[in-house]
């Protein structure tokens, strides 16, 4: 078995839905706000 298929066997794979939501605009807009909030919180904690 080649290195690639052996690695494939042991790794976690995303489902179709996970992949879909990564570029689904409405969901990503929500994530955009949420990630920004998280980062602002991190910046506030670090300065």
């Amino acid at each position: 078995m080649g290195i690639a298929s052996e690695q494939w066997r042991h790794a976690m794979k995303p489902t179709r839905w996970v992949v879909f939501f990564r570029t689904f605009v409405l969901y990503q807009l929500w994530r955009f706000l949420w990630i920004n909030l998280r980062m602002v919180r991190m910046i506030a904690k670090s300065h």
């Binding site: 976690m12 995303p14 939501f21 990503q28 955009f32 990630i35 920004n36 998280r38 980062m39 910046i43």
Partner: protein, 485 residues
Amino acid sequence: MARVVVLGAGISGHTAALILRKKLARLHEVVVVSPARRWNWIPSNIWVGVGRMKKEQVTFELAPVYARAGITFRQARAVEIHPSGRAGAPEPYVVVESTAPDSQGAREEIAYDYLVNATGPKLNFGATPGLGPEGNSLSVCTFDHAEQTAHALDEAIARMKEGAKLTFVVGMGHGLCTCEGAAFEYAFNLEFELRRAGVREQARIVFLTNEAEVGDFGVDGLQIRRGGYDVPSSVFAESMFVERGIEWITGAHVHSVDPNEVTYETLDGQKRTLAFDFAMLLPPFTGVGLKAFDQDGQEITSELFAPNSFMKVDANYTAKPYEEWTPEDWPRTYQSPLFPNVFAVGIAFAPPHALSRPRKTENGVPVAPAPPRTGMPSGIMGRAVALSIADMIKRGAKQPTHEASMAKMGAACVASAGVGFWSGSAVSMTMYPVVPDYARYPGAGRSTRHTTGEVGAAGHWIKHILHHLFLYKAKAYPGWWLIPE
């Protein structure tokens, strides 16, 4: 009147200089010494390296910005520090060597009251025979390297369009490298571009890294809370590689890079070769090699600097095993223990030790990712030191008044995985603190609330916005100081 000299105009030095200028009255002088004429937003070099941006989009001329801000600029390379001046004239000074076209090589002494060493890394391609653009591999560390890499990629894609099957190796060119995140980003952007060009099927992509596990990033990995579990970042990183069909080789020290072949050794002591058509391998970093002298002209470099040429600051440099590392080992004020008017920030300060567990191969070759000092911590250090110096000058403070320990600081990092408003994506990561604190956060060493990561287009939008935001800030346009590091 006081003069503050800042060596280096990268993320940390430029931040320090702008804040000093903002805080100090005009009777005080802020001088920046930097060999490069242009400022570079280094994180976007990844996009230059896949041909998605031109180098003009990630750089700008420093001189007009400094002229507007009221900062004196010397296009020069610092070579010597004389922290106690010379016999009979105790005023400290630095010796700089011009890199400007009209005065190339001319030496000048610049006296200082306060010195900030923000000279970043020397890209030590020489550590591995054949490594680097002068040898047999490519790099994205500078905008010129990145542009050269983009040309090589164009050629590779053209060959593949004619039917060639090619192997791409991306990763770290030495066992002691840092900045694994940048190689990770490049691997994903490369894969994305090959897909976009319709030649992905003809490409084998291998990620070759000194990390013991992918997703270590030189910070000993992260634990991310997901689905009711605390999941190691290696699980997510491996998943991303597998999803995109990228193979990975971990725990590797690269011995040499020959034309079209890399020789490496892994932790099990096995020496192997890997044939490639295109290799983008990052170099290990050292300090830039500044020398220091006492009043009598005797060299004191080893007192001011660690053996790797990074400047010693208020860290605990006692050598100790991984199990005994503590967050308190990390510096807080970045002040030199020997000269209270000398500071080192960003990559230029000597870290007390790594963050990832150091390992050796079965043959005793060290494979130990060096600790990253990424953009956000570098900028925050620059700010803290600038504020301390401003207080020392204005209020006569005897000690630095601001601290910025990486053990009390978080980092936000967005690792691009492909460019495109609709189809692009990036990994948005936050970690707190950067230096793990196992007493405060048993198990993970970091807050599982504030240590997060996710993949999606939102990350790409953020990365793109940050690109413009940080260029705006670096150009010192109105309100620049409202944008945090």
